[in-house]
């Protein structure tokens, strides 16, 4: 194998991993802080993709569509948290799983009614539609590099918000000791609503920014949900840092698995998960 191929495949893996992080971060945030297992996370990813497909058609520009779409997704997150999830905080995980699983079906049916069952695509903005020639036969689309850069920036921003701001402190406090935060006179319910909305907005944003390269189709959220759970489990439930490292590991494993052991490519990331759990039963950073 040539050196250039090795480098390109590694870049493919990192790029896939960064996108996975964006999806998994919302999932791990919601679980880590609210202790809610949100199976509808993948459905929200799909909602993001369909929203941006629909809005791009209306306003004609991808970035403007994302600018309008993200608040809409956050609003949807607020509504879901206020009217559905809030009833479940005192219930056990099975009830939450049932509720959010039902939500997948409801969201999917609504998607079918509103947008139909066809496959769609979203055009890459003119500015980023070029590609860089890497080898004689292979080009690399600039938009994919752009996605990676955006994901990296968001990861850094999340880290700074959680570690360096008062809001981040409250969120971390709420996750480790809910009663204590309440005793200090802080409205924990408001924080939960905020966190859920942020989680929904993050995954919907991932769906939006990935739409031009992933296509927009029914069921697109289901497969991404499974892989996002693998990332979260590897990284350690609730750890943003773990999700970041886990996402990169999964991205690289999936890519290199497909290159080196194509027969077992489908298994590669699950083997990785099993190995990690063998040595670190609670994940890398739990």
């Amino acid at each position: 194998m040539e050196v250039s191929t090795i480098l390109i495949q590694t870049m493919n893996g990192l790029q896939y991993g960064l996108l996975l992080f964006l999806i998994a971060s919302g999932l791990t945030l919601i679980f880590g802080i609210m202790h809610i297992i949100n199976l509808a996370h993948g459905a929200l990813y799909m909602v993001g993709a369909y929203l941006v497909y629909w809005l791009t058609g209306l306003v004609g520009d991808l970035f403007l569509a994302i600018l309008i779409g993200v608040p809409l997704a956050a609003l949807l997150g607020v509504l879901i948290e206020r009217f559905l999830i809030q009833a479940l905080y005192r219930r056990d995980h099975l009830d939450q799983v049932l509720m959010t699983f039902g939500l997948i079906m409801v969201i999917d049916s609504l998607r079918s009614i509103i947008w139909g069952n066809d496959v769609h695509s979203v055009a890459i903005p003119e500015l980023l539609s070029g590609s860089i020639q890497l080898t004689e036969t292979l080009d690399y689309p600039v938009y994919r590099l752009f996605i990676s850069a955006v994901c990296a920036v968001i990861a850094l921003a999340m880290y700074l918000v959680l570690q360096r701001t008062r809001l981040g402190m409250l969120i971390r406090g709420g996750s480790s000791n809910r009663e204590m935060v309440q005793c200090l006179g802080i409205d924990i319910r408001l924080i939960y609503t905020l966190v859920f909305a942020a989680g929904a907005a993050l995954t919907a944003f991932a769906g939006m920014i990935a739409a031009p390269v992933s296509s927009v189709y029914p069921g697109m959220g289901n497969q991404i949900l499974i892989i996002a759970f693998v990332v979260v489990v590897i990284g350690g439930l609730g750890s943003i840092r773990g999700a970041f490292l886990g996402a990169l590991l999964v991205g690289l494993t999936a890519t290199w698995g497909a290159v080196l052991v194509p027969q077992y490519a489908g298994m590669a990331v699950y083997v990785l998960m099993a190995v990690v759990l063998l040595f670190k039963p609670r994940g890398l950073f739990a």
Partner: protein
Amino acid sequence: MHNKNKMPCSFRSTFTASALALALSASMSSLALAAEPVKVGLLLPYTGTFAALGEATTNGMKLAIEQQGGNLGGRPVEYVVVDSEANPGKAVPNMQKLIAGSQVDVVVGPVHSGVGMGAVKVARETGVPLIIPNAGFNAATGPLCASNIFRTSFTSWQTAYPMGQVAADKGYKNIVTVAWRYGFGTESVEGFKEGFEQAGGTVSKEIYVPFPDVEFQSQLTEIAALKPDAVFVFFAGGGAAKFVQDYAAAGLQGKIPLLGSGFLTEGTLQAQGAAATGVLTTLHYADSLDTPQNNKFRADYRQKFGKEADIYAVQGYDSGLLLAQSLTKVSGNTQDRAAWNAAMADARIDSPRGAWSFSKAHNPVQNVYLREVRDGANVVVSTAATALADPARGCKL
């Protein structure tokens, strides 16, 4: 004493009554046969990824039956609809719901080959006629073929084998294949490989992607490094839309020709846009087929349902024609299954895709067309194979 006297009397009256009832019901049933509806069970996906396919199939079938006078062999039609959810795990219970529960006369379905496995199993056990309007797994008209199982669509082999000859005629010697690792994907690749190797070509590498993954960057990097004469792929739906776009974005479009089974560009062309230009595919139908039957069908479909017909609508339409034609021949008698099955096996369907009839294994003997994507449409270039029959390996009919 008292009881003993009464017994024979009551026995006699019961006997007379039941004999009368029996005689009455016997004469009634022959009368009722004409008026009682034919129960057609539909096992199709109406939710999930394949919902659009289930809807098109149903529309096509209803259109055909309506055009044949709205009845089957002189009897009205009653549809019993079950959502298959394209879920193989529910295939057997759903079939039993239709056959044992609703007592349907015939089942039309399914779309998904995994569901097809379960449906075929139940059809073989119960003897209820099964008309498969899509699911292309080779086995249904291969090792698992049966006198009561009919397929109005295609086999995976049929849609890929002719591309082998096409590729060889284009002068390609060395081809790499990429497909999802599941039944439809591997069967298509095997069909293509058989055709291509018979014509003197070599498949230098078979790349498989776990189903239904849609992350293709590493495979595209590999193709770019291998630099084959052409690439043959099998993907459908969202995966097909994405692969073709990624292929173009990686700069491979125009450098390494892209070939595929026709499902690569069915229902996905709009999403693929300019990235699909120049893609060559083989399929037993093309929207642009310029025949009176196809033009009329497409116009009727558009008028009734307000949207364009696709391959799934055609296959549904042909299933409707098959039901109407065979039941007319047996005067609506669904009880004599042997006669009905024979009538179906003899059917000649004047389809929008071109006239076809059944092979011995009950799969269409049909033309397969070579299509090229030009200006966002599948344009028919030529007939890649005329009256092509699936080899039906393992079928003992």
